[in-house]
């Protein structure tokens, strides 16, 4: 990388994350003007958005080419009091916590105390949620049966499609006007609501153009003071770019990147959407601009690389909005999960790799930044070269890029009812989640602790960790005479908790639809403009809600241990086993070792265990998949943990697989650590017994020793391994950035 990029990268890495009060103060100021009370909720939200973008500090960092920050400077991170209002304790935790901390200065703390907290008291979504959900939901939530994504962050699992590369915001304004003019007040009972929603969308488009123009103005001011002739020229170019986009469609590579960046800032300023907004298929979107620039001589490969690298830095400058409460203390979640996709197939189904794919991979390898994260989509149509290039980056040891199966993603999307074209234009985002980019709102609603449900089943509805009754009376385990008895009880208990979770979700979805529309996001995601509906109210072309199952390995091994040792081998009675679990195997290490070593376990291509896995998957799938959400869409499952397998383990006592109390569960669909003893092919075979195509993503984490990837022969073998897994419809092969990340390691 050149000197400029090196400097910007260094600044980004060394910048200290801090809480910025600016957004919360401006938002509160706006609501205090009384304007909000006079208009509909969506229009009020749009005006607030506009107010923030009209008044927030404009930040132009020295030497940068792509401009714009969410805060006053890199890593200044706003709060979203309308979603969850940080208490003073929360701020102190964030300031002092050992893991990644956010600096909170005195003025920020004071303003939170005097203005923000008093104004938003009782009104935040978080407070509304906890007021509206019932006591069954709360006790399950407290027991750690599931988590709830939306209590601290807005729904927003979406990735941008390609429309901003063809249209400017002035074009979107025209589309919104058209949509308003088509409203039929005589026959459409929702016409008024739609008008308000569309008006709100229009206001947000104005807001972003204003925001861009403010950057142009600021840059022109800087030109006057700039002494370096080259930088002067560069600043002139930046000002031109900001004057052109996002109002108009981009005409070159630089404008395309800057346009996206303004849009990105708009999304993450409007709400603290959950985690994943990103440009998606970057090597497809930018290719026309790249080729045109190379052809007419206005762009060199080096220019493009430099622009991409400065673009990369911008992502790394935006830490995740900090959490509140216990999550703030325990979680070291720090980055968002922008997952840029390269490779895969084109809309017409052809191999999508191109010269830009490899240029972007070069950028990923050189930048080694936490954000944005990256992945390669690997289709059977892509050449091995793509996979080999990715593996050569992976072996450098910083975890990127992940390796996804395009052909599985497409089939998953098509099974869910997406068109073939939309499926081919889609990909994976966040951690592993499949989506139709630019056209889908696919909301992760919470992790679901399958292992906890088994523990509660074994205790007839009681959580043995707290002694509280949290589930239903599914039967006294001591009286089970067969493995089927246990599975039936588990099934009833699971059904109960899934229902509790979905009931809560339905309430929460409506709270967002009613109180927290996202008009700016609605401009970006099809078909919100055409439908005159908000992104949070079912405006998108596709609306999916996910529940993410956690602990597949742990639950399979626990059930397998009961089946094998209690019912098949009759080595131990269920009563004796439950006592052992209650005592955390105290004094029974020998027996614990038997459970660990002499039980058929998931991850060994052994159908004894893997059939149980299939049964659990099938139950979970049948109970969730296809149920309606409130947005005209459906519930789906996926299987991924991020870091939650640690939290979920911390609320569960000892389990029959030999796991000690309060220790982490297995992650994703990976086997329990150490349970797989027959090498990677057996793990892959076991994992492939899950029907990946009926999920919206699974996470199998295969780790390689870097030595194995040292030579071409080793890489070739891994290529074969991945291709085999993908042939069996595996969703994702390698992933490591979701957890274990440590900002100091880069």
């Amino acid at each position: 990388m050149n000197k400029r990029v090196e400097k910007l990268r260094e600044q980004s890495i060394s910048a200290k994350a801090a809480i910025s009060r600016e957004r919360a103060v401006l938002l509160t100021e706006f609501y205090k003007t009384g304007q909000a009370a006079q208009v509909s909720v969506p229009v009020a939200r749009a005006l607030a958005f506009k107010y923030i973008l009209e008044h927030k500090t404009i930040c132009i960092n020295e030497g940068e080419l792509i401009v714009g920050e969410r805060g006053e400077q890199p890593k200044a991170t706003p709060t979203y009091p309308e979603i969850c209002t940080h208490s003073l304790d929360d701020l102190d935790i964030l300031n002092n916590r050992e893991k990644v901390s956010y600096t909170v200065d005195k003025t920020t703390r004071e303003s939170q105390d005097r203005e923000i907290i008093p104004f938003w008291f009782g009104m935040s979504i978080r407070e509304r949620i906890f007021r509206e959900v019932d006591k069954n939901w709360k006790s399950a939530y407290d027991a750690g049966v599931f988590t709830e994504f939306m209590e601290q962050r807005a729904p927003g699992h979406s990735v941008l499609g390609n429309k901003i590369y063809r249209k400017g915001f002035l074009d979107f304004q025209q589309e919104i006007k058209n949509s308003i003019s088509k409203l039929d007040f005589f026959n459409d009972p929702e016409a008024f609501q739609k008008r308000e929603q569309l008006t709100a969308m229009f206001i947000t488009t104005e807001a972003l153009i204003i925001f861009a123009n403010r950057h142009a103005e600021k840059v022109r001011e800087l030109i006057a003071d700039e002494t370096d002739a080259n930088r002067k020229k560069e600043l002139g170019k930046i000002a031109e770019v900001c004057e052109r986009v996002p109002a108009n469609a981009p005409t070159n590579f630089w404008e395309a990147l800057q346009y996206y960046w303004f849009v990105h800032l708009g999304v993450i300023t409007e709400l603290n959407t959950w985690d994943s907004f990103n440009p998606g298929r970057l090597d497809q979107h930018l290719l026309p601009f790249y080729r045109q620039g190379i052809k007419d001589g206005s762009l060199t490969k080096e220019d493009a690389k430099e622009l991409l690298q400065t673009f990369w830095v911008k992502f790394n400058n935006q830490p995740a909005p900090p959490k509140v409460g216990v999550t703030a203390q325990e979680s070291n979640t720090y980055t968002d999960f922008c997952l840029i996709n390269v490779g895969g197939v084109k809309e017409n189904g052809e191999d999508g790799t191109n010269e830009l794919t490899y240029l972007i991979l070069d950028v990923i390898e050189e930048m080694r930044l936490l954000q944005p994260s990256s992945m390669v989509q690997v289709s059977k149509k892509n050449p091995d070269r793509l996979l080999k290039r990715a593996l050569k980056i992976i072996r450098t040891g910083f975890g990127q890029p992940s390796v996804f199966n395009t052909d599985a993603i497409i089939q998953e999307l098509i099974r869910q009812g997406k068109s073939l074209q939309d499926a081919r234009n889609g990909g994976s985002s966040g951690c592993v989640e499949t989506g139709a980019f630019g056209k889908e709102s696919y909301i992760l609603t919470g992790y679901f602790n399958l292992v906890k449900v088994l523990e509660i089943t074994l205790n007839n509805g009681v959580d043995p960790v707290t002694g509280k009754e949290v589930g239903i009376k599914s039967g006294d385990a001591n009286k089970f005479t067969s493995f089927d008895d246990l599975m039936n009880a588990f099934k009833n208990q699971l059904q109960y908790f899934i229902n509790v979770k979905i009931k809560g979700n339905i309430i929460i979805e409506r709270l967002y639809a009613q109180y927290m529309p996202a008009p700016f996001m609605s401009v970006l995601i099809d078909d919100c403009i055409q439908n005159g509906k908000d992104y949070n109210a079912g405006g998108a072309k596709y609306n999916t809600s996910y529940i993410q199952g956690v602990g597949m390995g742990s639950i399979t091994d626990s059930l397998s241990a009961i089946k094998y040792h209690v019912f098949d081998q009759e080595k131990v009675s269920i009563a004796a086993l439950l006592t052992l679990l209650k005592n955390d195997f105290n004094g029974e290490e020998n027996f614990r070792q038997q459970l660990l070593n002499e039980t058929p376990k998931y991850g060994n291509d052994d159908n004894y265990a893997d059939d149980i896995l299939r049964e659990v998957f099938e139950m979970f799938f049948q109970m969730v998949d296809g149920r309606p959400n409130t947005k005209g869409g459906t519930y789906r499952i996926n299987l991924l943990p991020t870091t939650v397998h640690v939290y979920f383990g911390s609320v569960i006592g000892a389990m029959p697989d030999g796991r000690k109390a309060l220790t982490p569960l297995s992650e994703g669909i990976s086997p329990v650590q150490g349970a797989d003893r027959n090498g990677p092919t057996a793990v892959i075979k076991s994992a492939a017994k899950i029907d990946h195509l009926r999920t919206g993503g699974t996470l199998l984490n295969q780790k390689f020793t870097p030595q194995f990837l040292e030579d071409d022969e080793g890489i070739q073998k891994i290529v074969h391994l991945i291709r085999s897994y993908f042939k069996m419809d595996g969703h994702l092969f390698h992933k490591s950035w979701c957890y274990n990340f440590n900002i100091n390691s880069f």
């Binding site: 070792q593 090498g679 073998k717 074969h720 085999s724």
Partner: protein, 264 residues
């Protein structure tokens, strides 16, 4: 007629025992008793009980006694092997029969090889070459590749370090090549014994009398075997040998290449 065999391990994702991704089946029993043997548990033809030295943090902590080797049917072995067919197909891999000396259980091996042929699974046999040639003749049609170990050219030394003469081994190799079989030579570089300039020169000229096109796999010495001896309470007659450096290995390869042979 269903022969029963004795194996002591099946290793999946074996990546050094032939082309592609392979499953290696280790047959028990070996007529040689090499001082440096990496798999001392493989030498006896029959299952045997070994006391493992117990160390902390070892998952076998509570096992103590372990029987090495198990009687299996052809079907049982094939069931394990067939699990990885998808990987074999993708990588042009297959199954490798190793040992011990797989040719010692000739009927069992033949049945396995025939089953593999029936299922279209590529086969490799990793052999010391120490068997009656009639055994090779019996299985030749079902073996895609032989991995053929050469060790020491000097017969007296060969006898000393391996317990057997190398005459039969050399003769069988000649016959296999004459029969047009695909053979790859493997040379494990035992420090001071195999990797001496003199021995290598003799091996090279021997190979050149056979076939200039033969490729030779150079296998650097690996100390892992020593630990196994400790664990199993066996005395390793060659303890304290050091693994070769990369430069030393490259020197050996160069020696082969200078002579016009392909070494990898």
């Amino acid at each position: 007629m269903n022969p029963i065999g004795i194996i002591y391990d099946i290793k999946k994702f074996a990546v050094h025992d032939g082309p592609g991704i392979r499953t290696t089946v280790f047959l028990k029993g070996c007529p040689l008793s090499c001082w440096w043997c990496h798999n001392p548990e493989s030498q006896s033809r029959f299952p045997e009980s070994k006391t493992e030295l117990l160390t902390k943090n070892n998952l076998k902590l509570f096992r103590g006694n372990e029987t090495i080797g198990v009687e299996v049917s052809v079907e049982e072995v094939m069931r394990e092997v067939e699990k990885d067919i998808v990987f074999f197909d993708e990588s042009d891999g297959g199954v490798t029969f190793s040992g011990g000396e797989p040719l010692m259980q000739d009927e069992f091996l033949l049945s396995l090889l025939k089953q593999c042929r029936l299922k279209d699974i590529h086969t490799v046999v990793d052999t010391s070459g120490y068997a009656d040639y009639s055994v090779f003749e019996k299985i030749n049609d079902y073996v895609n590749i032989y991995l053929y170990d050469l060790k020491i050219y000097d017969n007296q030394k060969h006898l000393k370090y391996t317990g057997v003469s190398n005459q039969l081994i050399h003769q069988n190799l000649k016959q296999l090549l004459k029969a047009g079989k695909n053979v790859k030579i493997r040379l494990a570089l035992i420090p001071g014994i195999v990797d001496s300039l003199e021995n290598l020169a003799q091996i090279i000229s021997f190979i050149k009398t056979l076939d200039d096109e033969l490729t030779v796999d150079i296998l650097p010495y690996n100390k892992i075997g020593e630990n196994k001896y400790n664990r199993m309470n066996l005395v390793h007659q060659l303890s304290g040998l050091e693994q070769q450096t990369e430069a030393e290995i490259n020197r050996v390869k160069l020696q082969f290449e200078t002579a016009g042979l392909k070494a990898s």
